[in-house]
Every structure is written in structure tokens, then in C-alpha cells.
Amino acid sequence: MTNVQYKVIVGLEIHVQLCTKSKMFCSCAVEFGAAPNSRVCPVCLGMPGVLPVMNRQAFEYAVLVGLALDCRIPMFTKWDRKSYYYPDLPKNYQISQYDLPLAANGFLEIPLESGGGKKIGIIRAHLEEDAGKNLHTAGNFSQVDLNRTGTPLLEIVTEPDMNSGAEVRALATELQRIVRFLGVSEADMQKGHMRFEPNINLIITKDGAEYRTPIAEIKNLNSFRALERSVNYEVRRQLDEFLETGQVMEMGNKTTRGWDDEQEVSVLQREKEEAHDYRYFPEPDLVPVELTPEWLQQIRSRLCELPLQKQMRYVEQYKLSDYDAGVLTAELSTAEFFDEVVRDGAEPKRVCNLLTQTGLKIANEKGCTINNLGVTPEGIAHLARMVEADTVSSSSSVSIFEVMVETGKGPEVLAEELNLIQKSDAGELERIVDQVLAENPGAVEDVTGGGKKSKKARGFLLGQVMQKTRGQANPKVVSDILDKKLD
């Protein structure tokens, strides 16, 4: 058995659809699922004589992502035409950015499963227009739907800094969180808002010598699962191929592969990296974009605390678990809601429990975000404080939360209405305990007698008290009384 070790090298190209109201170079609405060719105009149809006009919002969104990725933002960028013939590209060129992208040389920090973070280099990010869609459902003919044509796309290219499928997935999910936090993309995978193309190869050490396998690029992946699995598959495939053929990376032997989601295999698409000649040249119909310091500052002012920063702050400042902090920062709306509740003076850990165990569960069922449940951060802060003050039990708080969502009423009113105010009056509770003890001499005997029945009997007695008070007794107070009486 020879000694073989390998290191996985992955770089990623990501296309993110920006959530502007209108398209990149015309005023057509960006809308998913509209009737074919109903969101088009002469400009995005590439009719003779039309001219593009840059969507400033898209440019600002793109710069904002560049800033969040710690990129250098040049004050001068321009547009280029990338030529290729395809029916879903009506002009037969795509307006893109070639040698002067709007952002370059940044990094994105991803959380590692082992804890901590890792910086992944960002080579560049540039804006371009999306193509339409070819449909092959009409027999001998193909049809073209150009609704998507001209949708603003941000292409982000990373350094080959990732060393596993899990890291690639972490980068993708982290980027999704970031663009959602920045409000520049819905990043809805189902709607194709994020598409990935990983470039993968291995550095193999065999008998002391080092070999690099040919790079394979997997095209057009649109789920995190497919992304991670395709990388893992490709690692195994390349290792097997190398051991079988000894093929190493050479000029021009990069391949392009597609991912078969059902078979979970990658399929060869293009044997050799075709000498694609896109004949880039500067787009003469658009003027270069010159940022001013004021404009850049205006964009920068829209940067918010990024998800990973927030997550780490929750862990440090509020002592939340990394898992809980991750759940709270998965969506900006959740994080913002949480921040507001905490700002209203509620105890963070308590708020976290209310939101992650009840709020997000309801929101999930309703298919909405937590800020759209019809409960206010003040209401939830109030509820959290009531639990804090033992006015209601934490189990009652779940029912109160649910009814708050249903009725829109405040927690205090509901606690009264639902008879969920906890009884903590020791005098009254002692009377009830005495009554229960009198009614259940057998159990009392089991407790006082010790042994294995003791714990169960004690629980039984506690349950009896709770029953008599219809759940309103403060279990802690009852427990104290029981301890006192039975010791």
C-alpha cells in the first residue's frame, strides 16, 4: 500500500441576483414567475436602436456587498461587452465588467465546524445582466422566455481557499446571510437567486512527491446541498482518477462538468477548456462609473453589523450558545427583532428561548418572518420580563406567545384571561400542600421512607398541587414547601 495523502482545493464563482425593483439597464420589473415575455421592453429585448441605462440602485447594492466583503472599491469602473451567441441572450452579447470590476481583493470569514473562523479571499465582484431562459417543451421548437433577461447579477469570485465541501457550503450560506442582512438580495435558492460554480482539484502527495489533479469546474449549482455534495463527489472522483491514470494538471486540461442531482454524480460536459473567445471590449453605450468620495460614503453608511459579527457578539456579550446565536442571525429580521426585544430591557437568554423555541416555530408554520407575526418587540420584552418575575411560568409563556399571535393582545391581559398568573403566595400554597399531603398518605410515606420510590412519589405530590391550582402554582415555591414539610 502506497502512502497517499491529499488536500482539496476549491475556489467558487457565485452569481447573486440583486433585489432591485427594476432590471439592470431598463425599467422592466424584476419579477419571478410572471407569464413568459410579459416583463420585457425594447431595451431588454435588445431591439434595434435601444440603449442601456445603468440602474444606480443595482450598482450601489453591488458596491455595498463589495464593502461587506472588505474589498477595495475602485473609484472608476466601466462596462464591457461579452460576446457569445445564444437564443436566450437577445443582443448576443452580455453587458458585464471585464478588466475593471467594481470590487476586488477582499475576504469573507466563514464559521468552521470546529469552531472559530477562516478567511476566504475574494478576488473580485462585478455586475452583469442575466440572460433569459430557453424552454424545451414545445416539440420541435425551443421557446425563449426573456423575463429574466437584464436582471442584475453580482458575480463574486473567491480565491481557491476552501479545503472541503463543508467549507464551500459554509461560504455559500455565509454569503447568503450577508446579502440578506444587507437587503440587497432575497437569496432565495428556489428562485435561482444564488447560483454556484466551484472549481475543484486536489494536491496529492504520493510517496513523497506532490501532484496536482486537473481542475474541474461544476456548472450552475443552485442548492447548498448540491454544492457540498458535488464537491465531495468530485474529490473522490479525482482521487480515483489520479490513482488509476496518474493524470495531472496541464495547460488546457481543465474540464467542465454538470451535476446530476438525482444520481448524485458529476457528468463531463466539456473535455478541454474550449478557447472561448468572448471578444470583450468596452461597452460604448454606457459611460464609465466614477464614484465620488461622498457617494461611496453614502453607500458605506448602509453597512450594518454583519451576521457573523453579530453571532459572535451574541455569544460573547449575551452568553448564548453558538448554535442559538446562529439561529438568531440566520435572518436579519430575526436578529433585528431580537436586538429590539433586548433593547427593551429583557434578559437575552430568556428572549432567545422565547424566539427560537416559540416565535420561529410559529413563524415557520405560518411561512413568514418573525417580525410579521403581529407581535411587537415590546410585547415580547414584556412577556420575557413576566417570566423573569415569575408572574407566569416559562411553559405558560409559550401559550401566551401563541395567543398573542392569534389575538394581538398584550401578554399581561392574556395571562389574566387565560388564568396563567402564577401563584407564589406561600401561605395559600402551603394550605394546598397540606391538603394534598393529607389526601395522599401513601405517597408521603414513600417520600419520607427514602429509597427508589421516593423521587417518583415526590413528583406525584408536586403534580397534585399543580393540578389543584390548575397549573398556576409556582413550581419552585411548591417545591420549597414540599421540601420543608417532608424533610
Partner: protein, 489 residues
């Protein structure tokens, strides 16, 4: 009535002295008589024109305000999109193309209450200098029907010269307004790049294309400029009013510019025919009498203009014309086997020779491995030419040179010799590369009584000055009043 200038006609109509309907009918009567010979139009829109003319007359009669070109019959080159009639670019590939929108310049004409009579013939996609490259029709020169009208705006120039309209819009990428204006004895102005919106002008060389007027007089050109010039939010390359305000080009038109200096480039102009050179020197004499000082300027890179132009324009064209692929609109081949054949056969069938030649040239120039040697180099030359103009304009107010090396040549004379044809743009191309405005005004005739044009160029956005300088000459001479004698006239 057809003797009137557009401005005179407009004033007469506005004052209620002349009926637009009558003027329009008169134009269509001439079209009926002469168009079969001249072939200036690819399509006419008589019903719409008469309707608009009657409407203008009615509004004037009822005392309503009308636009600055109310009731004046004008023509539009067929590379400007119109919702009426077809927009063909004189190409078989767009022979049945009906645009869903109006070009901004057309919208502005309509808003000025102009009466559009038809769409003028041109070289296919504006590629050519004789209108012989039209895929749909041959236009002849009204001064000699065996000769070309020039191009690519040959239809517009011939229509104005033959009084088949009172003024026209053309487009100029390398001389396509000025050269046919010169060949047909009319005034043709290529404005500064960015002065007139290109929205709706079917692109040939996007960084060079510019719409401008062809007219009988400098005054008419100024009138047309008042209507079409100005910023358009739909054209990112159109210059905003803050950077270069549009002025009323008629307001100071008759005020001579004094004193002023004319720059000439003797060794460059020496390449022109003797008769052209002679007419030019006579024009200089007149300007001298008007108080101008003639000064020689050095423009060292003009000799490279044609080479740079044919790289840049064709590179842009190869990309601009990629969209005519038979997929979405326009000609599609009958029985393609696959989508690649839709492209290759549709394009092979419907594009003319010259268009194919330029697409291939441009594709080559942009190809990887050649980009630096051709396209990038051409851009550098373009910058040098720009600098030449800037330096020259330090020393003079305007530059004068011939429009074309010859007068109108025979139909068929150069059509099989593309390089000879390209050389007919030698004097006009530099203005497009530099973006400066240039005008061609009638300044003489050769021994065959064919018109000769004088070209004047000024710094960017100095159209007011350019028009005033041209007007000074026009007031002193009668060349612009000469008319071609048409058969059956």
C-alpha cells in the same frame, strides 16, 4: 412653394399665410413625379403626413400654439426607429421590421409638429459612402442620375436636394451626413458626439454615430438642431445640459464671428481633386474678406484616421449587429436544422457584402490575441487625433478642409473596390473619432456642375459658433441656392 427653405415655410405656416396641407401635398406631388428616378425613399407615409398637416393647419386657424417645425414636411433616415412604417436600415434582414417605439430624435420632430413624409434610403446599416450598399434600393444623385448621392445618408441628401422634403435627418458615423450633403449640394451637420440622443438610432459604430440634419440652408440646419439637440435620459452618452447647455441656434445665427481664425491643414487637403481644392481656396478668400485669418495647423495623426476608424467602427459593428440572428425578429432562414443554422443561414442570406465584410473585420479585430494590436492600438490613435484637434483649436476657432476628395462619382465606379470607397471618407472620419462637430456647406461646382462641399469643424459643443461661421459664408454666396435640374421638371 418648394423653393422655400424650411424656415421660410415654417414661418409662413405659423403666420397662416401658407397651408401645411398644401405644402405637404406639393411634396407628395414631387415624390410622385421624381421619386421613381431618384429613389430617395424606402417608404413614405402619405396618409399620416396629410393628416398631421391638416391638423397643424386646423390648430393654427383656431389660434392654438404649435411646435417650432409645425407643418414642415421632413424625411427621416431609415435607421431611426419609427412606430409608423418599417425601419429597415436598408437591409434585407430588417426588411419587414416594424419598431415598437420611436427614436428620441423622431419623437422630438413629432413633438415639434413636423410632418414626416417618409423614411430615406441609405447604405445598409449605414455602412458605405454611396448608398449603393442599400440592400433594398438604389438612390441616384439628383444632379446627375448616373452618379451616386454619396452615403450613407444618400436618401436623405437626395430627398433634400430634389425638394422631396424640406429637411431631413441623417446619421453620421464617419461622414455619412457631410459627404452626401457635399455630393448633393445641401447643408449637412454632424453634431458633437453626445449632443443628439442616439436612442432609437440603429447602432453601427456606437462611439461614433451621431444624428444630424440635412437641409437646404445653414439656417434650416440650425432650426433642426433646435429641435433635436439636448440631453436624453435614455441615452447615457448624451451630454447633460449642465455640462454643455443647448442654446437657441437661430438666435445669434446672423451675428458674424469677428475676429476669428481658420485652421487649415494644407498637406492633408492636397490629396483632394484640383477642382475641390480650388473651390476650397475660393471659400478661404471669401472668409478672408469677412475678416478671418487663415492659419496652418499641424494635425500629424490625420493620416491614420481611416485605419483607426475601420478598426473601431467595425469592432463595434460586429457586436451591434450580432442581434440580427433570426431568433427574435427580422429575417429567419426557411428550414434550419438546428439553432446554429438559424444564426448562420439567416445572417448569410440577409446581410449584404459590405456588412459581412465589416462584421468579419470587427470580429477579427476584437479576437483574443489581436485585440491589443488592432482595437487597442486604434483607440490610442483615436486619442492622438483628439489631441491633434485640441492642440489645433488652441490656435484657431475652426478647421476647414474638403468634405470629400472628389465630387459625386459614378454608380458602380468604386463599389467593387472597398479601399477606394473607404478613402472617400478621408476628410470626414477624424471629426467622428474626435467627437467634434462638422458641417458641410455648398461651396462650388466642378466642371460637370456637380456640387462641392466645404467642411468646417469646431471644438465640441460649439455648434452655435460652427453654424454662425457657416452662415457668414452662406450669406456671401449663392451656392446653396443652386438646384439640380430634374428630368420631367
Amino acid at each position: 412653394m418648394e423653393q422655400l427653405s424650411a424656415k421660410e415655410l415654417r414661418d409662413g405656416i405659423a403666420a397662416g399665410r401658407i397651408s401645411s396641407l398644401e405644402a405637404t401635398r406639393a411634396v407628395f406631388e414631387r415624390i410622385r413625379r421624381f421619386e421613381p428616378t431618384i429613389g430617395a425613399y424606402l417608404s413614405t407615409c402619405q396618409d399620416m403626413a396629410l393628416e398631421r398637416a391638416a391638423d397643424v393647419d386646423g390648430r393654427i386657424a383656431s389660434g392654438k400654439t404649435v411646435g417650432p417645425l409645425a407643418g414642415v414636411p421632413v424625411a427621416v433616415k431609415d435607421n431611426m426607429c419609427t412606430t409608423f412604417g418599417a425601419t429597415t436600415c436598408a437591409s434585407k434582414i430588417l426588411a419587414n421590421f416594424h419598431a415598437p417605439y420611436n427614436a428620441t430624435a423622431v419623437e422630438r420632430l413629432l413633438a415639434a409638429d413636423a410632418v414626416i413624409v417618409g423614411k430615406a434610403n441609405m447604405d445598409e446599416f449605414a455602412m458605405g459612402s454611396s448608398t449603393e450598399n442599400s440592400g433594398l434600393k438604389q438612390t441616384v444623385n439628383p444632379w446627375d442620375t448616373t452618379r451616386v448621392p454619396g452615403g450613407s445618408s444618400g436618401g436623405s441628401a437626395a430627398a433634400v436636394a430634389a425638394r422631396l422634403c424640406f429637411a431631413a435627418l441623417g446619421s453620421d458615423t464617419g461622414g455619412s451626413i457631410r459627404q452626401p450633403a457635399s455630393f448633393c449640394g445641401v447643408v449637412g451637420l454632424k453634431p458633437t458626439y453626445g449632443r443628439v440622443s442616439r436612442y432609437g438610432l440603429v447602432a453601427y459604430g456606437s462611439s461614433l454615430d451621431q444624428i444630424g440634419p440635412l437641409a437646404r440652408t445653414v439656417e434650416d440646419a440650425a432650426l433642426m438642431m433646435n429641435i433635436i439637440a439636448g440631453h436624453d435620459p435614455a441615452d447615457s452618452t448624451s451630454v447633460d445640459e449642465a455640462t454643455a447647455p443647448v442654446c437657441d441656434y437661430l438666435q445669434k445665427l446672423d451675428e458674424p464671428i469677428k475676429p476669428f481664425r481658420i485652421g487649415v491643414v494644407p498637406q492633408f487637403a492636397a490629396g483632394a481633386d484640383e477642382q475641390v481644392q480650388k473651390a476650397l481656396s475660393e471659400a478661404m478668400e471669401i472668409y478672408k474678406k469677412l475678416g478671418a485669418e487663415i492659419t496652418e495647423v499641424e494635425m500629424r495623426h490625420l493620416d491614420y484616421a481611416i485605419a483607426a476608424y475601420y478598426v473601431i467602427a467595425t469592432a463595434e459593428a460586429s457586436s451591434n449587429l450580432a442581434r440580427y440572428d433570426g431568433v427574435h425578429y427580422g429575417h429567419r432562414t426557411a428550414n434550419p436544422n438546428d439553432y446554429v443554422e438559424v444564426y448562420s443561414k439567416s445572417r448569410a442570406e440577409a446581410f449584404g457584402q459590405e456588412v459581412k465584410r465589416r462584421i468579419m473585420l470587427g470580429t477579427y479585430a476584437l479576437s483574443s490575441g489581436y485585440y491589443d494590436a488592432y482595437y487597442l492600438k486604434a483607440l490610442k490613435v483615436r486619442n492622438l487625433i483628439r489631441s491633434d484637434f485640441s492642440a489645433a483649436f488652441e490656435k484657431c476657432d475652426c478647421i476647414m478642409m474638403p468634405v470629400a476628395p472628389t465630387t459625386a462619382f459614378k454608380i458602380g465606379e468604386k463599389v467593387n473596390d472597398p479601399l477606394q470607397m473607404y478613402l472617400s471618407d478621408i476628410y470626414t472620419i477624424a471629426a467622428n473619432l474626435a467627437g467634434v462637430p462638422g458641417i458641410s456647406i455648398p461651396c462650388g461646382s466642378d466642371d460637370r456642375d456637380l456640387p462641392i462641399g466645404l467642411q468646417i469643424m469646431t471644438p465640441t459643443f460649439a455648434e452655435d459658433k460652427l453654424l454662425r461661421i457657416a452662415r457668414m459664408y452662406e450669406k456671401e454666396t449663392d451656392w446653396h441656392k443652386k438646384e439640380p435640374r430634374l428630368a420631367n421638371d
